[in-house]
């Protein structure tokens, strides 16, 4: 399926990629001025993936970023000031300075789940988000990202397999930037295409040029709508290159210089910009306007962040438990009657006669793990009827 993008969509993709890069450039400067607390991770050269995939989501959909997905956050509507304050551990940050980087979320409005550092852990969590959305009738899709390196964690497998077994409306973007810290992908995974991991879970997959934002978007859009339509989880491998070291401290000397040169020519922003100019979707004036808009916005947000205070020390001891500060409530978009008895009840066509199930309410004699076998029931009771009820009765309690 080829999705034609409107001019506005092309321009939006351009804008968010430029914003992504400008935010990270600003943070690079702040880092060199010692204003960033802790490490700084760049998504330089990978902006098309964060932006193109997140742009395929609707407002009601859910996402969970990894550290190189600042662009996804911006595209979903997070203001740059939140990114700056997070990285500077300010009291005005979404976590009040309790965590940094892209580690923050918004359950109420933007539908963002915060990552933790442990790679892969978001995958089952977002599978759960997807299932809850389906259960509540919200018709949402959940999306998250994983690196080539993170795709070897146990929880990647558990999470994707679980999502597949439940046909969860879940889209996983595998950003193959060819490096996990210093280890090249060929030393981590004996596969030419990481998209082939999908075969193990019986789910659909795509491979896309991660430096072509329009291709990333249209692939993601198709995947999101397929997942929404009930086809189950979808894995997208976006091939790209990490254009910096693992983090600011790492000069990435282990990367062959030719590799950087090769990929520099494929820079996603320069490429999309050339396309826009060639196709006359953008002119020099329009470009200057975008640049001015971004500059003004970032200037304001950076200043806000720099002028914000660090959190007061007393805050360290607060907030371990929810003590009435939140009131988690599901938003039902289907009749509750569908999931309450009697409508949700099913006939137990799987019962085996004589097994004790459903009859032994006191659970006094049901055979249990590590317990002495109960006295045997008369054999003829079990023999009288077939173990399973006829197919007609089975229809009612059909498994999904």
């Amino acid at each position: 399926m080829k999705i034609e993008l409107t001019r506005q969509q092309h321009l939006d993709l351009y804008y968010y990629m430029r914003l992504n890069r400008a935010v990270e450039d600003t943070m690079g400067k702040l880092f060199r001025q010692n204003k960033i607390v802790g490490g700084l991770y760049a998504s330089l050269g990978q902006e098309a993936i964060s932006v193109g995939t997140a742009y395929a989501l609707e407002k009601k959909d859910w996402l969970a970023p990894m550290i190189r997905n600042i662009g996804a956050l911006l595209t979903k509507g997070v203001p740059p000031r939140d990114i700056f304050t997070q990285h500077m551990a300010k009291y005005t940050s979404p976590t009040f300075g309790k965590d940094g980087t892209s580690h923050f979320g918004d359950l109420e409005n933007l539908h963002i789940v915060s990552p933790i550092s442990m790679l892969g852990d978001l995958i089952p969590v977002m599978a759960g988000v997807a299932l809850a959305g389906r259960y509540l009738g919200q018709k949402i899709v959940a999306m998250t990202w994983i690196g080539d390196g993170g795709s070897s964690t146990g929880v990647f497998h558990e999470g994707l397999n679980f999502a597949a077994s439940q046909k969860a409306p879940f889209v996983l973007i595998l950003e193959n930037n060819q490096w996990a810290y210093s280890t090249p992908v060929r030393k981590q995974v004996p596969l030419a295409d990481l998209a082939d991991r999908a075969k193990a879970y019986g789910i659909a997959s795509y491979i896309v040029d991660g430096n072509d934002v329009a291709a990333v978007y249209s692939t993601a859009k198709e995947a999101v709508e397929r997942a929404r339509a009930g086809e189950g989880p979808i894995l997208i491998e976006a091939k790209t290159m990490r254009m910096r070291g693992h983090a600011q401290h790492d000069p990435a000397e282990y990367v062959p210089p030719e590799m950087f040169e090769y990929w520099k020519k494929r820079d996603p922003i320069a490429r999309h910009e050339k396309f826009l100019l060639d196709e006359k979707l953008l002119d020099a004036k329009g470009k200057a306007e975008i640049e001015k808009k971004i500059e003004t916005l970032l200037e304001k947000d950076r200043e806000f962040a720099e002028n914000s205070p660090l959190p007061p020390p007393e805050l360290a001891a607060e907030g371990v438990y929810c003590e009435g500060c939140h009131a988690p409530k599901p938003k039902w978009e289907r009749p509750i009657a569908e999931v309450t008895p009697p409508r949700c009840s099913v006939e137990a066509v799987w019962q085996v006669e004589g097994f004790g199930r459903g009859k032994d309410v006191g659970l006094a004699t049901t055979p249990l793990h590590f317990e002495a076998a109960p006295a045997a029931k008369p054999a003829k009771a079990a023999a009288k009827r077939p173990a399973r009820k006829p197919a007609k009765a089975a229809a009612k309690g059909k498994r999904r």
């Binding site: 976590t95 309790k98 965590d99 580690h103 923050f104 979320g105 359950l107 915060s114 933790i116 550092s117 442990m118 852990d121 995958i123 089952p124 969590v125 977002m126 599978a127 759960g128 988000v129 997807a130 299932l131 809850a132 959305g133 259960y135 509540l136 959940a142 558990e158 999470g159 679980f162 077994s165 907030g319 371990v320 438990y321 929810c322 009435g324 939140h326 009131a327 988690p328 409530k329 599901p330 938003k331 509750i336 999931v339 309450t340 949700c344 009840s345 099913v346 137990a348 199930r357 459903g358 309410v361 006191g362 659970l363 006094a364 049901t366 249990l368 793990h369 590590f370 317990e371 999904r400």
Partner: protein, 324 residues
């Protein structure tokens, strides 16, 4: 009303909560068609259907992770560990993801993780664990380990309604060995409150779960010797009810802690430290411990019995303590 088992109490709690609130769902291995390895969810699938009673693959991290994700949309999932021993397969999900969310980014995770724990049923080293202390060390979790059907039901219902992630340990030795009449009307038991099971004045025995009953048996025997032990059931290990403990110590001035969990790093050590900090002047003797051995839970009946605390061991320790 006929008395019910611990198992039945657990089942009633889940049934009633699912009946009361469609946001409550159950997921775990073999919880649906089979009704759970210990039949605690027997009949729930018939009643509540495939969307609310979910048989999962054997993937503890995925079960916990998915439950956490569900809770973010306002559901109140109950995640069953087929045996609590397997909870450590999801250690990272619980301690890093589930537990830290509210502190770090204000995301409450109203979910319950429950499963059969404890020894005494000849389950061997991988089906007898008491892993509560791995998690008591994790800020953000609440940890419940009840000893009676009444408490099991009331605390499980309270856990489902709590906005925080709650770990709920069910001692499987108790599943069918004790019965109790439960009120016909709806009730919950507050999380974080210990209870005095037997009043006494000479010493305090603090315990929970199966060892609660062992302690009560020892207290009976102590009474025959004129030693009146006050037996307190902690019920909730995190947050710990310090007030009830400190009140009792003021009266008895002697404390013995009894738990089935291994000794080193068990909650007895934590309680001893709290007493040193907050009740040093009230103590007439050392805080003593009767606990499982610092070994894995061995398989052979002779070995497991040697591993477990017994009423005799509790009795002996209490008598020693009473001499101070």
């Amino acid at each position: 009303m006929a008395p019910v088992t611990f198992l039945e109490a657990i089942k009633q709690a889940m049934f009633e909560e699912m009946e009361r609130d469609p946001a409550v769902v159950l997921l775990g291995e073999d919880v649906g068609v089979y009704g759970g390895a210990f039949k605690t969810s027997e009949g729930l699938l018939e009643r509540f259907g495939w969307e609310r009673v979910i048989d999962t693959p054997i993937s503890e991290s995925a079960i916990i992770g998915a439950a956490c994700g569900m809770s973010y949309l306002g559901l109140r999932p109950i995640a069953e560990m087929q045996f609590i021993d397997f909870i450590v397969c999801a250690f990272n999900q619980i301690t890093n993801f589930v537990a830290k969310g509210h502190y770090l980014w204000g995301a409450p995770a109203p979910m319950v993780i429950r499963g059969p724990s404890g020894g005494g049923v000849r389950g061997g080293p991988f089906h007898s664990a008491n892993p509560e202390m791995y998690f008591v060390h994790t800020p953000g979790l609440k940890i419940i380990y009840p000893s009676t059907p009444y408490d099991a039901k009331g605390l499980l219902k309270a856990a489902v309604r709590d906005n925080n992630p709650v770990l709920f340990f069910e001692h499987k030795f108790l599943y069918r060995r004790i019965k109790e009449e439960l009120p016909a009307e709806e009730y919950t038991v507050p999380i974080g409150k210990a209870v005095v099971r037997r009043p006494g004045k000479h010493l305090t025995i603090l315990s929970y779960a199966a060892m609660m009953h062992t302690s009560l048996e020892a207290a009976e025997n102590l009474a025959k010797e004129g030693i009146e032990a006050e037996v307190i059931d902690l019920r909730t290990l995190l947050p710990l009810d310090e007030e009830t403990i400190l009140q009792s110590v003021k009266k008895t001035n002697r404390v013995l802690v009894v738990h089935e969990d291994t000794k080193t790093g068990g909650i007895a050590g934590e309680i001893a430290a709290i007493l040193c900090e907050k009740a040093f002047g009230d103590l007439d003797g050392p805080v003593l411990r009767v606990t499982g051995l610092d070994t894995p839970v061995p398989y052979a009946p002779t070995l497991e019995d040697a591993f477990l605390p017994s009423a005799q061991k509790v009795f002996a320790a209490a008598r020693e303590l009473a001499r101070y």
